[in-house]
């Protein structure tokens, strides 16, 4: 099956169009999803399409918190559901199985309690279920800045996104709680916690100065339904630490806001 390469990056309201463009070019990205992008779509297109070979398109959306640029013609990416923070689109490429691409930027911990964040995930899960029923398949890619870690209630709860760290567990497709069935997501971001690879132990660093402090967080995530997870290679997912010669991290591994954003980009490939 052909692989499609995705890039997600919360660019933190910074003018990083040139860097996004270089990143997309270096890695041959097909679909770019950005959060906190204050660069006008026209300016971003100019940066992305500085060479005639690239040809990124901007499929407009009512959703304001995430924007998408894609090498695919706009007609292949049609809106299914849109709200301020959630956009679900039907990605239907010629001779390929259609997928749903859900992009999110969920409310921040600065303003929302963990309980409210979890509640938002319950609603998000319901919305995705509805759109999957309408689409007639469950090949859903959910990506974005969740402002929650993969272990938090909204992300793991059965009534929430019901995401697990294991493809084997996710391949069961559903779990039953009190006689009710809930569909799994696979969350490959679990593989990227900690400092086994390098000093960058997550996608976002925050020193909370309170008793419970994880320091490193994985707010930027991609979740896949089992049908897509089955063909997903976790080694094809990375947290990006450099764009060419330019480092996006400081010597201690934390995001370098002088060069990039306070969030690090994630790159991944999905076969469908």
């Amino acid at each position: 099956m052909p692989a499609t390469k995705f890039l997600f990056w919360n660019i933190g309201r910074k003018p990083l169009a040139q860097l996004v463009s270089e990143l997309a070019e270096i890695h041959g990205v097909d679909v770019i999803v950005l959060a906190e992008c204050e660069t006008e779509p026209g300016a971003m297109l100019q940066a992305l399409n500085r060479t005639p070979e690239t040809g990124f398109h901007f499929p407009a959306s009512l959703s304001q918190r995430t924007v998408i640029f894609t090498r695919f013609s706009r007609e292949f990416l049609q809106p299914a559901f849109e709200s301020e923070r959630i956009s679900i689109r039907r990605l239907a490429l010629p001779a390929r199985a259609p997928v749903l691409l859900a992009t999110v930027h969920l409310p921040s911990k600065l303003y929302w309690s963990g309980e409210s964040q979890a509640g938002e995930c319950f609603e998000l899960a319901r919305t995705i279920e509805i759109e999957e029923r309408t689409a007639g398949h469950r090949r859903t890619i959910l990506v974005g800045d969740f402002n929650m870690n993969p272990f938090e209630t909204g992300v793991v709860s059965a009534v929430g996104l019901n995401s697990v760290m294991s493809r084997r567990v996710a391949s069961r497709e559903i779990r039953t709680v009190q006689g009710r069935e809930y569909r799994f997501f696979y969350n490959p971001m679990w593989n990227h916690f900690g400092d086994a690879r390098n000093d960058t132990a997550g996608s976002y660093y925050y020193d909370a100065g309170e008793h419970v402090n994880h320091y490193w967080n994985m707010f930027d995530q991609v979740l896949l339904r089992p049908e897509l997870a089955e063909h997903f290679d976790p080694t094809r997912l990375s947290i990006v630490r450099a764009v060419g010669a330019l480092s996006l991290v400081r010597p201690d591994g934390r995001p370098d806001t002088a060069n990039g954003s306070d969030h690090l980009p994630i790159l991944f490939e999905v076969e469908f």
């Binding site: 006008e40 779509p41 026209g42 300016a43 297109l45 100019q46 992305l48 399409n49 500085r50 005639p52 040809g55 990124f56 398109h57 901007f58 499929p59 407009a60 706009r74």
Partner: protein
């Protein structure tokens, strides 16, 4: 029982390039010239007033301006394809051949008026 006789004979698509294919070719070329700030689309429908006629609407689209759409022109033709009637003169009587249609389309797309419209849309998309 006698075998059924096939009155249809062999059926193959017409070899000539259709106006729709020509319009789509030209539509696809615009995006590469404008870094996809201004794109062109062709929407095809059936003429509600003359059910056996096709209408192809050629429009400019600016995705970054909320998918702003400007219909540059439209053409109509029947199942015989030619003559093609354009939404604006000249010629008022219709285009009788592929060459006449291509010549008309070239004049239309490269006209001062079309370039002015695209330039204005580009300026807005970039601002």
């Amino acid at each position: 029982m006698a075998a059924q006789t096939d009155f249809w004979g062999e059926i193959v698509p017409a070899e000539e390039r259709t106006p729709l294919a020509i319009l789509r070719e030209q539509a696809a070329l615009l995006g590469t010239k404008t870094k996809n700030l201004v794109e062109a689309t062709v929407d095809t429908s059936v003429n509600p007033l003359a059910r056996n006629e096709f209408i192809h609407r050629f429009a400019l689209v600016v995705p970054s301006l909320g998918n702003y759409k400007y219909e540059l022109f439209r053409i109509e033709h029947g199942v015989a394809i030619y003559p093609i009637h354009t939404s604006e003169p000249p010629p008022a009587l219709g285009l009788e051949t592929e060459q006449e249609f291509v010549d008309w389309l070239r004049r239309k797309l490269s006209s001062v008026e079309t370039k002015r419209i695209i330039a204005n849309l580009l300026a807005q998309a970039m601002s």
